[in-house]
């Protein structure tokens, strides 16, 4: 049942984030931004005004590592886990399709109440995005999201949502986004407002360091929320072939007054370390 107040709840968040594009934080600390403006994969030797001058680009990347104090949106599971994730992105014209799959190995066993109720065995996701400009260096992006999570209990949870990503200011260093999701099975609404500030200019190669915060609102019969701050991420190149070591830290505080199964604590510190490397890339000629 969709509460009547929901549009009002979202309106200020929309207004705040309108000028920016999104970041991956706020959902899972180990997620990596896949924003790619259409002008970046434009063909060089064709008519610049032709929409077909945007060359289709496919990118597949593998991520694997460890997460201590894993959180998903505003769910604090209080568990450590290993994960492996594949993210495929296909960019064409002003559109983007993201198909991702994540496998989780939590420290809790299958029989554990925590493992059974919270962390999935695996999660599949599909995101369809549209960029609002073919030419702008900092276009906005709107995306529709569907996630399906298979829990250790055998239950499958679906999530539907959308996201808006826009640049805030300062040469893409300061970016933000809004992400909304709805879990029909739990009748839960989640809103995440997240900002990231890159400590290095995006035009520089090498390592990246970002500092961010995320504000998370949740309603599943009662209001709740969480604040993540600081959320720091380092992206360190370890080979010339775009292999990266990622290290992240996030501190989060929950506003939920009532106890829910996935909310085992009020304050959570999360540390992630993982490697990512390209599996396959193809840019159309």
């Amino acid at each position: 049942m969709k509460p009547k107040w929901l549009p009002l709840y979202l309106l200020p968040l929309f207004l705040i984030t309108l000028p920016s594009w999104s970041v991956s934080q706020g959902i899972e600390v180990f997620r990596v931004n896949d924003f790619l403006a259409p002008y970046e994969h434009r063909r060089e030797k064709v008519d610049q005004n032709d929409p077909t001058s945007i060359a289709p680009f496919f990118s597949s990347r593998f991520f694997s590592g460890a997460d201590q104090g894993y959180t998903y949106r505003n769910d604090f599971f209080g568990q450590d886990l290993l994960f492996a994730r594949v993210v495929n992105n296909f960019y064409f014209s002003r559109f983007q399709i993201n198909a991702n799959a994540t496998k989780y190995w939590p420290s809790a066993s299958d029989e554990s109440p925590l493992g059974a109720q919270g962390i999935p065995k695996y999660r599949f996701g599909i995101e369809g995005s549209i960029y609002d400009s073919l030419d702008a260096e900092e276009p906005g992006r709107f995306k529709l999201i569907w996630n399906a999570s298979r829990l250790f209990s055998g239950k499958t949870i679906h999530e539907f949502g959308f996201g808006i990503d826009v640049k805030v200011k300062d040469e893409d260093r300061f970016v933000g986004g809004l992400d909304y999701s709805w879990k029909p099975s739990a009748d839960e609404h989640n809103v995440i407002l997240a900002y990231d500030y890159s400590l290095r200019s995006p035009s520089q190669s090498g390592f990246d360091a970002t500092l961010g915060f995320a504000l998370n609102g949740v309603h599943n019969g009662r209001f709740g929320g969480a604040l993540r701050f600081p959320e720091m991420k380092l992206q360190i190149p370890i080979s010339p072939n775009n292999v990266f070591l990622h290290v992240g830290y996030s501190a989060a505080f929950s506003f939920r007054k009532h106890q829910v199964p996935d909310q085992t604590r009020r304050f959570n510190q999360e540390v992630v370390a993982f490697l990512s490397f390209p599996v396959f890339n193809r840019l159309s000629q």
Partner: protein
Amino acid sequence: MKPLKSMKATTLACAALAISLITAREVPAQTPCNPKELVLFAVGGASGDLKNEVKKSPDEFVVEISQDIYTIGIDPKSSNFKVALRGETLTVSDLKSVKIRLPGFSFKQNNPSVKPSSGNCVASLAFEPSRRWKLRVEVPQSEMIEFQVGQGTQKVRTPRDVPGEPLDWATPIALDLYPVPTDPSRHYPYQLKASEFSQQPKCGAETGVLCHTKEEIRQKLLDQVEISGKTLVGKELARIKAERAIKELQVVSRIEFRLVRP
């Protein structure tokens, strides 16, 4: 005037006496004699390398004494170096001005000595060898590229021996190579040491030659490209674009580096 004259005469006499005393002390060393051989003592870190090199090419290690060239050999008994002389009269001054030569080495000599000893005449000289090298950069056939040496701003063209003055064996040579004649903005740094030439030859070249093939040149040029992107996927895209751009460049087929023994 007379007393002045007598003072002058006294001063001259004293000076003459002093000179004669000084020269008298050097007389034994400067006494010319006719040594049958000159013994050479190699001292210093490169002595072992010198012996190895002399064993490889015994005819190239020579000494020039008073414009005569003598081959220096290794005495099997003492393992010192020695030169069989032809009975010429030698003095210490002669030994001070000898020139020892072997390609790839320079020599600093000291302690020259020519002494009559129990009826024989013994000549000896100590020297400190040090290895020296230069580098020849060339590309096959009629192709040419430009390159810079070290931090210098002046570009030179292949084929060329660099640097002007030979370097000590342990000193590496740093180059900045411009392997795309049609695009002078493309270049990459390369540093190599003399000792690298003794390693297994690469790309089918003979020993003493190192080279960069076309593929290696392209890879090195790619390594110089700053791959930047706003996101991780943007970096991947930038790398693909950079690889394509490098592939389209007309790089020279090969660059060769030869060790030159000055």
